[in-house]
């Protein structure tokens, strides 16, 4: 991959996608700029686009290889989908079982209705423990509730220890991919960030940068009073929490600090250990093509009395924060099956072009376009995201638990329209469409009129040519035609519609007369 020049924007300048500088109020990128605007910004970032294309190509290629090696992938998907759907259908039962078993083993379990509650639970623990430093491993839920900002506001340093998350944290940005959060950063930017962080001079070599991170973050692991992790899968039958990790930071964070807080989306649960084996095959292969992550750690309760390592206290915060909205709606309930593998991002042709930040949310890509309006931001602020899709269905095809994201996107659009959030002119256009295209006579008349207009008024020159008629030149530059002609020539108009030709077609001998039957003319 080519490295752009070192004269890129300095890493210490605020990125256009930065959500917060320390001490500022949290701003919402969703409402600051429209989706179209954010997408256009992203399209101008050539480094980002090259990085996203390179990374997603690699990840999906590896997924394809490893799923083929495993064999019977569709059978695995069916199994995974069935297990997750069963769990969600009995979610209250399994959460109760989980919290009972976890409590038996010495954990303290909390149920947080929303982000504010989750924040206050974590803060209360942090104050009780007089924590100065929190070491965090990757947790989408913790980002969802902005836990770092909340801790920082209380004067507690919260350090991301996943290499990509640490990079993103130092840049005051949000992750742009679920699995590889700093995909949009090049090594020179990372070098600058690290140098600014510690005051040391480094080089841009991977081994130097990774070595620096290992050294610096090791200090954090050893000093932190509290470790916060997410939860890949909770296991109801024994109250266990399972963490998938490649770097080892989740192990560090759940081993060294005296207090461990697990932040868990309420749907991230499995009934039994047997089910973990299914997820352990589905998730790593879907995310990166690995057969299994380097570390898979199953934690049950805090450390036992005579053990040297491990937290003395284990706190598990189970979060709703809008998930019950999906639970209540049969059209969207399946979105809770998600195992956060990122496979949908890696195949999405829209994500490929614009990257994660254009989605303006903690959750990007196809899953983000569905989760964000449901979970957090509501339809008005985030429903627009459902239009960041050509409905190609690649996400559904890639999903290891068969979530019909493509259907959900169409359903979200319906809800968006039902709520009146679309511009009136579009509503009028589709109303006209409904009237004309449901009636053959109206449709035939409209077709004839359109053709007449094109051939006699706008003219045949349809590709921004100098010879185009003045009216055509104007038409080409106003929406919606302008959107088309910015990148493509307009299709040429047919002389007659198929149904106008039809009577001639019944007579086979007339085949040679009609120009439409000799298809050597251009589009």
């Amino acid at each position: 991959m080519n490295h752009p020049s070192t004269e890129r924007v300095s890493a210490t300048e605020p990125s256009p996608f930065a959500t917060k500088q320390l001490g500022d109020k949290i701003e919402n990128p969703l409402t600051q700029k429209s989706l179209k605007h954010r997408a256009d910004d992203a399209l101008r970032d050539e480094y980002l686009r090259a990085a996203v294309a390179f990374t997603t190509d690699r990840l999906r290629g590896r997924k394809a290889d490893s799923t083929e090696l495993l064999g019977e992938w569709e059978e695995w998907r069916d199994r995974g989908s069935a297990i997750r759907s069963h769990t969600i259908a009995h979610l209250d039962y399994y959460l109760r079982e989980f919290s009972d078993r976890a409590a038996d083993k010495g954990a303290t379990v909390y149920f947080a209705a929303d982000a504010a509650e989750a924040q206050s639970i974590v803060l209360e623990i942090a104050h009780k423990k007089e924590a100065r430093i929190v070491a965090k491993s990757k947790s989408m839920v913790s980002e969802e509730v902005h836990i770092n900002h909340v801790l920082e506001d209380e004067g507690i340093t919260s350090v991301e220890t996943d290499l990509g998350e640490w990079i993103v944290q130092l840049a005051h940005e949000t992750p742009s991919h679920i699995i590889i959060p700093a995909i949009h950063k090049n090594r020179f930017q990372i070098q600058q960030l690290f140098e600014a962080e510690g005051g040391e001079t480094l080089s841009s070599e991977t081994s130097v940068l990774a070595g620096y991170a290992r050294r610096r973050l090791r200090e954090t692991f050893l000093k932190a009073e509290i470790g916060i992790t997410g939860c890949n899968f909770a296991i109801a039958e024994t109250g266990s929490v399972v963490l998938f990790c490649n770097e080892g930071n989740a192990r560090m964070v759940s081993t060294l600090p005296k207090t461990h807080i697990v932040m868990m989306g309420m749907e991230r649960i499995l009934p039994a250990w047997d089910d973990l084996e299914v997820m352990a095959n589905l998730l790593p292969r879907s995310a990166t093509g690995q057969k299994i992550t380097v570390y898979m750690t199953a934690l049950t309760g805090p450390k036992k009395k005579a053990e040297l390592d491990g937290p003395e206290e284990l706190h598990i915060v189970i979060l709703d924060n809008g998930r019950s909205g999906a639970l209540a709606d049969p059209e969207f309930r399946e979105v809770l099956n998600c195992i956060r593998c990122g496979a949908c991002l890696n195949v999405c042709p829209v994500y490929r072009q614009v990257g994660g930040h254009a989605y303006g949310s903690v959750y990007p890509g196809p899953i983000g376009a569905v989760l964000t309006p449901i979970l957090q931001q509501g339809l008005k602020a985030a429903g627009e995201l459902s239009y960041a899709s050509s409905l190609c269905g690649a996400c559904f095809e890639a999903c290891p638990v068969k979530i019909p994201l493509h259907d959900m996107l169409v359903h979200l659009r319906r809800k968006y329209v039902e709520n009146g959030f679309e511009p009136p002119i579009e509503k009028a256009a589709f109303k006209a469409f409904g009237t004309i295209f449901s009636n053959r006579t109206a449709y035939e008349a409209a077709g004839k009129a359109g053709r007449w207009l094109q051939l006699n008024v706008l003219g045949k020159d349809t590709d921004r040519s100098a010879q185009a008629s003045p009216l055509m030149k104007v038409a080409e530059r106003i929406e919606p035609l302008a959107g088309w002609t910015a990148h493509r020539a307009l299709p040429e108009t047919a002389q007659r519609s198929f149904r106008e030709i039809w009577p001639e077609l019944l007579d086979h001998n007339s085949a040679s007369q009609s120009p439409e039957l000799d298809d050597s003319y251009g589009a």
């Binding site: 390179f54 039962y93 024994t238 009934p271 299914v278 199953a298």
Partner: protein, 235 residues
């Protein structure tokens, strides 16, 4: 929010009263097909497991050393110890290695038992040792053949840091500990009912890695940079 209120809310979202009876399941876990064919189309006889396990370890970037018998283990270990940088060796409690005949590790190489049962050093001193150690030595509970994974069940004699903090982790595996798939290495039914589920089970597949810097592979980001697995045949 209080638990029952939270859960009642979920039940109402699902359009029914709260559920207290264990849900009936038609199946759980992997399919019968996979359970009987964990190696895919081919059925790998047990005699081939060692070879396959070694292959998986190598593809993960781990070192795999096969000891023809228990007698060749010491020399393998000594070679590793002699090549390693200074920094000390920490191990699980000596008693875990009883069947391996490797007293020299503590006697000659001054390895430290990282366990509360170690009477010579207090906790603080022990932690200091594990933080500066170059090598961590453990045994395993299971070695999973189809993914090259080690399963380490933790207890007071088998502590977490030994396989995590040192730069190199060495794991001793007996051939009899090889199992085909992950399902064979999970806590058994009996374990799950009683209070004997370990506080931690570490499944380890290779040295620590990351591709977060421009997709460039980094080995040894937080966990050990080197994983060496010594498998003893016939044990």
């Amino acid at each position: 929010m209080e638990r029952e209120q939270f859960l009642a809310g979920l039940a109402s979202c699902l359009g029914r009263p709260p559920q207290y009876d264990k849900p009936i399941r038609e199946f759980s876990g992997v399919t019968d097909r996979y359970a009987h064919h964990p190696f895919g189309q081919i059925d790998l006889p047990q005699t081939e497991w060692l070879k396959r396990f070694v292959g998986e370890l190598i593809s993960l970037g781990a070192n795999a050393l096969v000891a023809e018998s228990i007698d060749s283990v010491p020399s393998l270990l000594k070679t590793i110890f002699d090549k390693a940088k200074r920094g000390g060796i920490v191990t699980w409690h000596r008693s875990e290695f009883a069947s391996w005949n490797i007293d020299f590790v503590w006697d000659e190489y001054s390895a430290v038992d990282y366990s509360e049962a170690n009477d010579e050093l207090d906790d603080t001193a022990l932690k200091q040792k594990v933080q500066t150690a170059t090598i961590g030595l453990t045994t395993v509970n299971y070695a999973i053949v189809n993914t090259g994974t080690l399963a380490l069940y933790i207890n007071e004699f088998r502590n977490r840091s030994v396989s995590l903090l040192p730069t190199e982790h060495i794991a001793l595996v007996a051939e009899s500990q090889l199992v085909a798939r992950l399902g064979d290495a999970l806590p058994s039914g009996a374990h799950r009912q009683s209070s004997s589920v370990p506080s931690s089970i570490n499944f380890i597949s290779g040295p620590s890695r990351s591709a977060d810097i421009e997709n460039d592979l980094s080995i040894g980001v937080h966990g050990p940079a080197v994983l060496t697995v010594i498998i003893c045949k016939g044990k």
